[in-house]
Symmetry: C2
Subunit: 279 residues, 2 copies
């Protein structure tokens, strides 16, 4: 232990100050399908000097391919019912087409990226969702994130690009929610890194008025969150996102930001998006 570390302890500050920074960034919404928006987003992502992990979706492209192949798609509360044919489609689209194109573009921007699904290096182990009411099919709920593997890759200067597919360690791939993967990775990595979790999509943040794109709420703490929910200002898909954000903060994630993918730099600097804070 060097003198700086000793000084830090003496001053009563947490030794966490010495941890390296890690950005865990989820990109979703229509950004994935829009070549120009995606390019701009990846340019910003490649400019991040610290450790970084990108988790992507690709749902709209999967839906399009399913339509082309006449594979009927059923969504319940925004979750895709994943039968055998649908699993094949999401594996091809997420882990194949979207993942490899993002990695190739990052490579061209001097960002040494490595694309992964949850089965690669046993990255994300999950189990098939059990639900007495709805059979979601081959949908995974996460059991374990392989922190050591992630750390060893990051330490080589690699930036990780993760497709939302996990596995059950018995040979079965599982379709897994990308928001949840981002949250679970962020939480799991707090032991070794100062983790910043960013959910980026097509909207500018959490809106006070869904009709007004400029009505972004700058900061939400638990008290304000309750008030917003009680008044039905926040509802539907935003509730699990925010619930998860507060859980992530409680479990050691430094901060959570929700905002527009095209403004990634501003989301990082705090100039844009909604900041979720614990107090």
């Amino acid at each position: 232990m060097n003198s700086t570390n000793l000084d830090t302890i003496k001053m009563g500050k947490p030794i966490d100050d010495k941890k390296e920074m890690l950005y865990v960034i989820k990109v979703g919404g229509n950004v994935i399908e829009d070549e120009t928006k995606l390019d701009s987003f990846l340019q910003s992502f490649s400019g991040i000097k610290e450790n970084k992990i990108l988790i992507h979706g690709g749902g709209k492209l999967a839906t399009l391919l399913a339509k082309q192949l006449s594979v009927n798609q059923q969504l319940i509360d925004g979750r895709r019912i994943t039968d055998t044919e649908t699993l094949k489609i999401v594996t091809m689209v997420y882990a194949g087409y979207v993942n490899k194109n993002i990695v190739a573009q990052l490579q061209s921007k001097n960002c040494n990226a490595l694309g992964l699904s949850g089965t690669d290096g046993n990255l994300i182990q999950a189990h098939k969702r059990k639900n007495s009411n709805i059979d979601y099919g081959f949908v995974g709920d996460i059991d374990v994130v392989n922190c050591l593997f992630i750390k060893s890759l990051l330490s080589k200067g690699l930036s990780l690009v993760i497709a939302p597919i996990s596995h059950d360690n018995k040979g079965q791939l599982l379709n897994t929610n990308a928001d949840t993967i981002a949250q679970e990775i962020a939480k799991a990595m707090t032991k070794d890194y100062e983790v910043h979790l960013i959910y980026s999509f097509e909207k500018s943040g959490v809106l006070l008025n869904p009709e007004d794109a400029k009505s972004v709420i700058k900061t939400i703490n638990p008290t304000y969150y309750k008030e917003l929910k009680d008044n039905n200002i926040i509802f539907d898909g935003m509730i699990p996102k925010l619930d998860n954000a507060f859980i992530a903060l409680q479990q050691g994630v430094r901060n959570v930001v929700i905002g527009k993918a095209e403004c990634l730099q501003q989301l990082i600097s705090g100039e844009s998006g909604t900041n979720i804070i614990s107090q």
Copy 2:
């Protein structure tokens, strides 16, 4: 340097004897599409204790998906003309569906596998094929294999599963022949490993009589190869395979074996398949 190494040098033996072993195994043919055959092959692969890399094809599944999507496929001398839609298909099938299912199955067999395409970690850099006669489209000819990256992954006990997709480092993915990838990786890794290259597919080896599956030629050296070619016993697709095998041997690969994927253990032990030797 320990005394054993010093002894080896004193004895005049090459220090290469101390290199770790690496198996570079290509699996192709109809094995990928046959669940039972693939499972048996992966069981044998997972049993290899030494460093190992698997390069897979998936052409028949790509052709099937192209047909389902009404994307016309054109093959010249067994090489797929790769337009934008076909590139999307092979990226989805090779790097997505086939790669991730193989990795998931290996994980279930206690083999810690990592699936990669050539863009991941800048594994295989290539350029778009230039040919005055035929426009192959987005087909890559390999420039560089990232040996350091491969070595760093193998040293962690990971087994690599590589899809035949490379990139040009300018954001473009490229469809790339899996046999050639196997050969280039094998050659590139000879600096650090004692490399054994195995081409496995549905046939038992190089056949003296194509009608007789039992007429496997045990050993082929350059003189015998010339004789076989002169007498038209070896022709078509087998010629580039064997030409490449001899080049690999010249460039330091320890041995090359061609044979049946279901007999992988016997191919390794020398009990099955055709051995290509340099003298």
